[in-house]
Symmetry: C2
Subunit: 341 residues, 2 copies
């Protein structure tokens, strides 16, 4: 297959880190990325080029282009961490096949992306493109963090930003494994849907005395793990309200708070601890057999409907500079970019 010389891509405008912490909101992408025609990437040894069919937009992508993620930006390079597409170049038996992938070498918000051959994930034919485009960051994170919950032996866990795509995946896992999820959300309007999905209890931070709601829920369910995508003061308060042995596992920073540790003594006397989760590290440290096994589980769950992808909107690549922000502003569901349009 002969590839074109150039492609349309959303490229990063800045190098390195911004030194700011403004959270994952994006009212206007133009300070961070621009739509440009750039050369199609050429695969080196062990690399593959993928013609992108659909790319995901995750909070980590927004953190990244704003220079607020744990990896430095490279000006002129396409953004976008994950997507699905057809392998069009590279020394791999997957040539011509549909794969999900994490774009290690050239981002997915582009007509073509590039990554290591070892990271290509073959997709079942019955897996939809929206499920396939987002099967890595959120679903693999859900599986990996739920492994932590299971290994802890807890009968219950707490998760915040629970109305997010990842939150819903975690609630469904808790439901299916009999480990009671306690969901923390901002708006009361989200509570019923999460209860219907399988949340054993819902704490609404926008309502009166959310900490009293938490005390009641924690007394009933005795959660031991707090999966935290927010990192605000209320999360710290939740952690200190949890029973002995609680672990606060932070994996994202939706808030710009610097939470205070008001009861540090609980770490001593109640065996509590605070740690982080990063999918990239998990993939390096986990038993290698766990990863393909996890992708088989992920695809099976989507195809059978025990997981679903809520789509906030699919924005054509050509319209991202004007259209992406409004899809991201929707309170629920996931945004995608379609590089073929």
């Amino acid at each position: 297959m002969t590839l074109p010389k150039t492609m349309r891509a959303l490229v990063q405008l800045h190098d390195g880190y911004a030194g700011t912490q403004t959270g994952p909101d994006l009212a206007d992408p133009s300070p961070f990325v621009a739509l440009r025609d750039i050369p199609v990437p050429t695969p080196g040894k062990g690399q593959a080029v993928i013609k992108v069919q659909l790319a995901a937009v995750n909070p980590s992508d927004i953190h990244f282009i704003k220079g607020e993620y744990g990896q430095p930006r490279v000006a002129g390079q396409p953004a976008g961490f994950e997507g699905v597409g057809e392998v069009v170049a590279g020394d791999t038996p997957l040539l011509g096949q549909r794969v999900s992938f994490f774009a290690g070498a050239s981002g997915t918000w582009a007509e073509y992306a590039m990554t290591d051959i070892s990271g290509l994930i073959p997709c079942r034919p019955d897996l939809s493109d929206v499920d396939a485009a987002g099967q890595l960051v959120n679903p693999l994170t859900a599986i990996a963090m739920f492994d932590i919950v299971k290994e802890s032996g807890a009968d219950s866990f707490v998760l915040n930003a629970a109305g997010s795509q990842l939150g819903k995946l975690l609630i469904a896992l808790g439901r299916d494994h009999g480990i009671a999820p306690i969901a923390v959300v901002r708006r009361a309007a989200q509570a019923d849907a999460l209860r219907a999905l399988g949340a054993a209890d819902v704490i609404v931070t926008g309502e009166a005395d959310p900490l009293a709601q938490a005390h009641a829920a924690f007394k009933a369910h005795k959660p031991r793990i707090l999966l935290d995508a927010v990192g605000d003061q209320f999360t710290a308060d939740l952690f200190f309200a949890m029973p002995n042995g609680a672990r606060w596992v932070n994996y994202g920073k939706l808030s710009t708070d610097a939470p205070k540790l008001a009861e540090l003594g609980q770490l001593i006397f109640q065996s509590k601890r605070i740690e982080g989760f990063w999918l990239t590290r998990w993939m390096k440290e986990v038993d290698p057999a766990r990863v393909p096994q996890a992708f088989a589980t992920i695809q099976e769950r989507f195809v059978t409907g025990s997981w679903t992808t809520d789509v906030a909107g699919i924005v054509p690549l050509s319209a991202t500079m004007t259209g992406l922000a409004q899809v991201l502003a929707k309170p629920d569901g996931k945004a995608f970019i379609d590089p073929t349009a």
Copy 2:
């Protein structure tokens, strides 16, 4: 041996917790304890009574009588967690012998104390009373936390309140095992003595830009463990200045700060974590063979001079209400109570 019916003891005036966090200072003991004549404790099954020869005064004792420790007070009971004395009652082959002990059932700031037989630690004849009276809380904590340092594989560790008795024990352990101790102290006057003892570097918080001192020390030594008795904002700042993989191990709360986690993302991207250490839990969870082995090490280190106990003063039990505060106010060294005087 016939025991008297009553004894002189410093008894606690309050039950439970105070709900305050005022730190381990004690200007006046009279709001918390009183000198009284009370019945000598009677041993139940598995318990021993010890005629106390010398009792230690540790920061945890002060936290405890103020109602700010992780265990509830019991009004009318003698205070004092550790000491040395002769076993005078109880079904044990150690009857008549000198033992160090942690007073589980009736405190050491009294002529007689009571604890479980299983917790009696026989003392070598060549171990001095001041070393024996304080061989549990500080030395065993030092051994246990230094096990954490060794198991982490770190080439260096950081400790604050480094001029304390426990701090000096840890510095000597680092020196003797070739793991560079970085000592954090408040006053420049303490620095030379700690360097002479074996500190690879000293950060003086009372001097200009202590965080810059820390950056230089961390760059040179790459510490991975932070042993923290203070829990203030500067400790949090130190933690975030440490290299990847750093662990903040809190074991005390000399400060009343509620430290802010300004860079929570380091837990995700730099594999850092925050945890607590409590000797009581360590003793329950550690391989039981480690404890007698640790006490053999402790006594050997004191007898051979690789550890020394710096004595701030020995206060007669009869004079504690007026004399204890002034000994505790000394900047260095450990306070003791002599119940025989």
